[in-house]
Amino acid sequence: MVTQTGRDFDGPRAVNAKLANRIASPSVVIGLGSTSCQITRRLDEVSSAWSFSDRKSLGFLYMDTREATRGEISRSSRFIPLTLPHFSNLRDMRPWITECVPELKNLSLSREGALGTLANAGVAGRFNYGNLRGHIDATIEQVCPYYEGVTYLRVHVIAFLGGGTVGALPVLLAALAEARGTSYNFSVVLHLVLPQRGMSRDPETTYPLQLRNAYSTLQFLRAASGIEVGKGEHTGKDSYNVTVYPDKIINAPGPHFDVALLHRSPKDSLPVQRVHVARILEGLVADAWGTGQDWWARYHETMREANNNADARFGSISSREVGLLEGFFVQTAKQYLQNQWRTQL
């Protein structure tokens, strides 16, 4: 049996690959949480071998509740620490706090097993909203210089669904919705990394917590996409409000994302997960080359044929690889060459 991966089909020569023009639409890649920051960093490293113009079209933004993440990424990268000042410096019971947690003091007690609850990142995201907006605008401006006339880009958001930092996702999506109101037009691709039992530090206790977080976040995304269920009393709207520091209400109109991809690691191992998701991300960011080009072409075709907006936005595309098919055609080509040489020589 032949095991194939997408990378096997990259050009055989690194020099040639470096010269290839991979990116047609600029991209901003945002890592939310430690796992996602590591995946983003991996893509950052891989893309360092790309051509200058490709690198220029790529921007990276890291967000995490762990300050230590700053030390794990390159110095020049943009990092937004999702941290709060000391509680004594904050007024409790402000709306931007109580949207996530009844009282601020709850946060100090909120570690559940190995996980932080969603509220930690939710509150910190609201507190750092101004910083977040500033970095998003600056990164977009960096990859899409307005004077060059490029106004379309893609924003890839990577989030581990089982973690706590994913609690800042509503704030991040609200910030992106606000940024979309500027002169830039962009689509958002959500990369949602699913928890896996074998990768949990404690499968008996933390894994259910991860699953619970994943479920809540997925439901949030469904709600924020305007899906209507049951009596539709609270669902069916694709906009929502977020109160950010200092008590400013941000209205986040939908659609919040264009496509959501669920990622699972082929093996229960963090390095494998990192490489696997980064590789798929690499393919999708490089939309003028190889798998990414093929994928986006199919995606747009699917969207044209979509029956309704909700369907179009939801899960019609998953992050499978096309490596098997390529393997088949290479083998077929070998058969062709063998036929030619066997019969004619």
Partner: protein, 516 residues
Amino acid sequence: MARFSFRRKRLSFSEQTNRVPSAVDPLDFLGGGRTASRDAYSQIHGAIHGVLSEVERSISSLFERLRPDGNLSDRMVLEANAELRAELARANTFADVKRDEMLINIGSRLESLFIQRLVIAPDEEPPVRRWTALADRAIRRDLPMVSEPSHANLDVSPKDRKKRLARWQAETDQYLETVCLNHVGEVISGLLEELNEYSASWMDLVVDLRRLATTGGRLYQEVTDAESWTFDSDDPTVKNLLTGGQAQDIAMRILSRFQLGNQELAEIADKVHDSLAGKPVYGSNRVDPMELQELLARATAHKIQETVSIDTGFLSLMSNGSRFGEELGELLVDMHMGASAMEEKMWRVGDVRVGHVDSASGVGITASNLHDSVLRGLGGGRKFAAVEGHPGDNHRFEVQMSTVGAPVSDLAIFRDMVNAWYAWHFEDVRGGNNGDTSGWLASVSKESWKLYPDIGEETGVRRAIIELIDDDLKKLWNGREDIATRLTNGTFTDGDLLNGVVKPQDKILNTADPDS
């Protein structure tokens, strides 16, 4: 007595101007056809001649200024001499650049030709002998002297000056033509050297390829061994549902319709050439035959993939055999039960759904009855968008050989998520199983912020999330689910559970279970 010479006079540069061809592509004779060596020579000559024309024009203008009837100063003669030397040097530079450009082009053309012929005509001898006659013309001549007349030589009567200027111009013309011919000779020498290497490498490579492709050879084993056609991915959610034998069968059917045109051949050669990144395909430092075969296969694979159009897609190629419809239906059921089903459960709403595109590039048209078979296979009226109506009584498929089929363990994740979410409500600390409903609800309510990213009463999305989860629970409930029974050990009735979680006094959401 008059003496006649039969020796052919060498034409000057200006006389050649109207004789040499000005081909758009002076090296097109390398691409095939039956161009004679004489014509090939003329084309090379024309190309070098063409780049020197500009110099010739400048020189003509220089002589124009020294017209016989005008005044002539010492300074003018000095300047004319200097300018002429500069133009002659420029002629050499232009010719050098053109020669180098042509030599590079010759190399890449011959490499392309070499690759193309390996694919379509490996049995034919390389078209090399045709050009050997060119060797006679690759002669290097010494550059003639061009005089440097002084003011005294030219400051004479108009008639004499006219004669002397004409002689000077003729010398210049001969010089230019000699420069041109010498460079033509260098191009030809380079071409012949390349051809020699081409020819020698061809003979060696053909022997290697024969060994690879015939019985027992590595390529032979690779294509005949079904195991080599069984691809798998290290991603457990990607599963190839074709056996090696089936894949071989499909490949043979694709190849029976596959033909390479000149354009495709040239593109294959370009791709291989680019992949080699400067490593030659022939010559002493040439690429290894195995590597060349691999690169050829990859480049040809792209062409085959492009050539397999909708009309000859995978499914139509596969759609023979009495049980094909049922088999495909079974495959789709497998696929539906795989990760795609999990995602659909989580993501999709509405009756009409978009097809789950996994790695669909084999879009095919096949018999109309297949639609029914597949729908039956998927169970009743479920609409599966992999099969959609298509004009012309055919049906279009967006499924291909590598469809999704996830391990059963992966399928549990959706259920696990609901279980985990649900179990949180009935943790021992909340007394969910001891019958104290009010205490339990208070506990759930107090800690519900741990579950949601946003619990704001006015702005939050908690209520919407609850409504969605409620809908999921009802669907699971109605679908003979055992979650509740397992979790509560039969302590609560169905209605208690649903109303409990979403009870009004929990200030979460008022959603009654219509079935309770």
